[in-house]
Symmetry: C2
Subunit: 156 residues, 2 copies
């Protein structure tokens, strides 16, 4: 299970590997309302992730590591969501793995600085998807999970 963490939108994707092939079991976003206080939003993220863990019982949970790109306050809010997701994972016996966006890009495209639209095309191609997954958070979550499997960063 790959996760692109956020407070407003958490992208997720469950991939399965078998018979020499990797495919998408499910993918989507958990969205939270900006009108809710942050505790309530974290609760929505926690229950959304927990439902997915319950349904798919993944072998691993892999998350994109937060970078300080622009906004420090928003990075802290995303880190709160990361904490809640790590806690949910623990309750299913998983220690969440964090990998950097550049490692994901490198694993899939051979270029640690590949642009976002190129990454989305690669994801669509590698997984033989009929169209490029939207929103971008979903494509990111797929890429994170895919890089983890394909690089042999394999489950416990």
């Amino acid at each position: 299970m790959g996760i692109d963490p956020g407070l407003r939108r958490v992208g997720y994707a469950v991939l399965q590997a078998g018979a020499g092939r990797i495919s998408v079991a499910c993918a989507g976003v958990i969205e939270t309302s900006g009108e809710l206080p942050s505790g309530a939003r974290l609760e929505d993220i926690s229950s959304g992730v927990t439902q997915l863990l319950e349904e798919y019982l993944p072998d691993s949970l892999v998350m994109e590591r937060i970078l300080f790109s622009r906004n420090v306050t928003s990075a802290l809010r995303v880190a709160e969501a990361v904490g809640v997701i790590k806690l949910a994972a623990r309750r299913f016996g998983l220690e969440a793995v964090e990998i950097g966006a550049n490692q994901v890009k490198l694993a899939l495209s051979g270029d640690g600085n590949a642009p976002k639209d190129q990454m989305q095309k690669i994801v669509g191609m590698l997984l033989d998807l009929p169209s490029i997954p939207k929103p971008a958070d979903v494509a990111d979550a797929i890429a994170i999970a895919y890089s983890f499997i394909s690089r042999g960063w394999v489950p416990r």
Copy 2:
């Protein structure tokens, strides 16, 4: 209930107000081992805070807001703990309140930049404690809760 969030140490204090007097019902720290992976540490924080909430059923939970003082990575780790604490609070119907350290200092000492040792003395005096609470995280948690009550930032 006041909380000084951290990953290694979470300071907590439960204060009660009544009969014109504010007193400490309990105070201490939840410590986590640096040898554990971060998910396991967050789990320990979550269960420690949950136990306190269960036992004391506080009217409010007040936390110190994270500042970017020195280390950005450690601020992100602390934010993960904050997320987990906010989630625990929600499960008891509380939306955690965050207040800045300078607001706490201003409320207790009249000086938003009061030094740490002065704050600790003030906390000991205001609450008529036999000695200054140690470690500093405990004194901070007491100060946070005290400022919330004394300023009339009162429970829902």
